[in-house]
Amino acid sequence: MKKKWAFLSSMLAFVLVLAGCEPLMVLDPKGPQAAQQASDIMLSIGIMSFIVIAVLTILVVILFKYRASNQPDDYEPPHIEGNKWVEALCIGIPVLIVAFLSFMSVKSNYIVESAPVGYENEEPLVVYASSSNWKWHFSYPEEGIETVNYLYIPTDRPLEFKLYSFGPITSFWIPQLGGQKYAMADMVTTLHLGADEPGEYVGRNANFSGKGFAENTFNVTAMSQTEFDEWVQEVHEKAEPLTEEKFDELLEPGHLGQMTFTGTHLEFSPAPEHTHNDVSEEGNDSEEESDHSGH
């Protein structure tokens, strides 16, 4: 029964790591959306471990009890067609589990697709995050700032990322603040995040986009609103304005370090907000400018 031990011990190792010797990034949330997802994940791991352990137990008992070497030579197993109660149970229990998880899933969908709970009274900060091979451009239209490969954000305030791409499909992901969403060239998607602790987080493109994909990362720094305002101030004092020429240069395939500009590329190269209608806004923020005429 070597296999079972290998299996059990690896499950154990799994649980131990989950239990937090060294917290895994996704299970170490620093914002309400990530916290919601982490709690869903822990809940489902719990229920799923129960199922796996149940199946494993039944299996081990049956194998042990009905192995040929445990039975008389002349034992002839019976013919059993099935039993409708057993079958009802085999359908009923999974149905209940799945129904419960579906309920949780639907609930969470509406939570992660709207502004984070807890900061309802704050105005969201809108950031346009666009990718190009293999960089991230962050435009802060209200602040009139653009950065490359790094992101400054205020804590305790809803963050609304408008995602799109100047190339292949990419996926904008800051694991500790919440799950990812695609950035595409022909439409803008919206990702709602929030940070409730100041700190440095890693962000990356999670969707394969060619040669430079592995290094397609960015740094995220969360800070208080006052510090954020100071930073905005400072950028306006020190940074160069972003010109169209300069921006075209930035779009060339390759890697760049971190950069800061005043002004945003949205002025001369607007986001593809009106080419396809943005269907992602059922419910909460549909009064936004999205063009529902479609085509």
């Binding site: 799994f14 990530a34 919601q36 499909i169 990812q180 999670a206 040669k211 994909f213 592995a214």
Partner: protein, 648 residues
Amino acid sequence: MEFFERFAIPHPSPAIYASMVAIALVTIGIIAGLTYFKKWGYLWREWLTTVDHKKIGIMYLISALLMLFRGGVDAIMMRAQLSVPDAELLDAQHYNEIFTTHGVVMIIFMAMPFIFAFMNLLVPLQIGARDVAFPRLNALSFWLFFAGAMLFNISFVIGGSPDAGWTSYFPLAGNDFSQHVGTNYYMIAIQISGIGSLMTGINMCTTILKMRAPGMTLMKMPMFTWSAFIANLIIVFAFPVLTVALLMGTTDRLFATNFFTSDNGGMDMLWANFFWIWGHPEVYILILPAFGLYSEIIPTFSRRNLYGYKPMVWSMVLISFLSFLVWTHHFFTMGQGALTNSIFSITTMAIAVPTGVKIFNWLFTMYKGKIRFTVPMLYSVAFIPLFTVGGVTGVMLAMSAADYQYHNTMFLVAHFHNTIIPGVVFAMLAGLTYYWPKFFGFMLNEKIGKWAFWSLTIGFVLAFFPMYITGLDGQARRMYTYSEATGFGPLNMVSFIGAAIMAIGFVLILWNVFYSFKNSSREIGSDPWDARSLEWATHTPIPEYNFARLPHVNSSEAFWDAKMNGHQLFRGEYEEIHMPSSSGVPFIMGMIFFVAGFSFVFSLWIPAVIALLGIFFCMALRSFEKDDGYHISVEEIKETERKLGGAK
């Protein structure tokens, strides 16, 4: 010279040059060997022109094993590159090509032929038929698969391999971002073998619906045949979507049609939708025949009938239906909003219910049984808990809000390997060991088989379970390297060790074939495992006509009833048997398809047009040809039966 430049590798390396030399040497070796041993005639008569479902099955089997090793080498290289942070074994471009070809080879050119191998070998025997409904079409299916596989496999020495992932998402796969011909190979090679798969789907459905032995109603079919029927039904509905999508992708790349581009009215999301409308049913096309094999093996070695035959059938029917309603779960993160995600989240989880029913039925099949731990049974026993883990992680992924965190990470990679390896690959290896004596006349060595089994199982757990953890720690899939600071190093090293142990397991399986060929007894009778269904009711070796007289069937385990309850399988006198005749046309058409495919890859229009005309010519020829097959006389049948040990 300019003409030839297109065939150069855009990104060469010593490994690729070494492979070129190796391929050349092996080809020369094969040609020289065939000539020296005067085997050309044998090869042509017995294999290249055959329409016998058993031989076609064996050719699928050999191809699948070859591709398993090709894909396995890719896998080991990837795991080696990731075993330590900042490794420099492979650069980004090579890594991208390798994971792309690994995925395509394993799904399209390993798993698919493997299931087709078993369908070909088993379905006619299990339903008591002499061949499939359209034997020549069956040969054409095989040769199209083979042409596609060869075309795909030469990509890395001629022109360069595809590098946009097995999912080949546009616009990355479009001309703007994938300039070299790699993605052309992807589009065209998969197209050619996909047409073959579609034809097999039609062929098998017809066979199962029309050619069952007297007395075999649908609800008396052996479970593998049921699974093959459902899988082929899914093929018939899913593959046309792939055909169209690949065609559109091809015209985008070759004729600038802009279906999937992000400007000029194209839509990249359309490709993702098409791909997964085929892609999700595809994973069930693979897993259902695997379920079917387990449903044959577990009863045999539990010495009991399959528990809950009806729920087993209905769960497969339900799975096939649901499998078309879940594709969006592959891109919950594309921004379709909470409502759409909720719907697909629920349909996806719903699939877990019929799957769970099957797990419980296998468990209850062993209940009150008399369990023998042979190699096929060991694989089946390991499958149950390991596949359960794969299934429940699938349910976790189906929680769409949480999937925003799992998607595109190693967690996802762990999930699908956790379903495909214990699910599909173990089933194929179990089936291989189980049916080996029926088709080759000797048993595989149990001891080496067990060593291989333990290596694969332990290797699997070590290789893939750590990925659940690194995924949750933020390791994205398809990264060719990572920095030390991420902390992914140690667990990736564990994965590498696991992969190496699995590699040993696969080598042991090869060694087992070789060893058993030399040492195993040939005196094994026709039913060495004490099995239950019809395929064991004929002789070993199986005569070309399968059954001298067609069996009469009264239950899904007719052979067991014959052995235990005195059921009379074969009744009446011998009669003349009508058989289909061999034909070289399928092979020739396969080769022309290869030429056509190659010409399209490199936009060589003149040969492409000539090859297409050749294909139509072969098809036209077929409709003018008068071929009624041939007859085996009663005397010949009696003679063969006497040699094989008399009628049962």
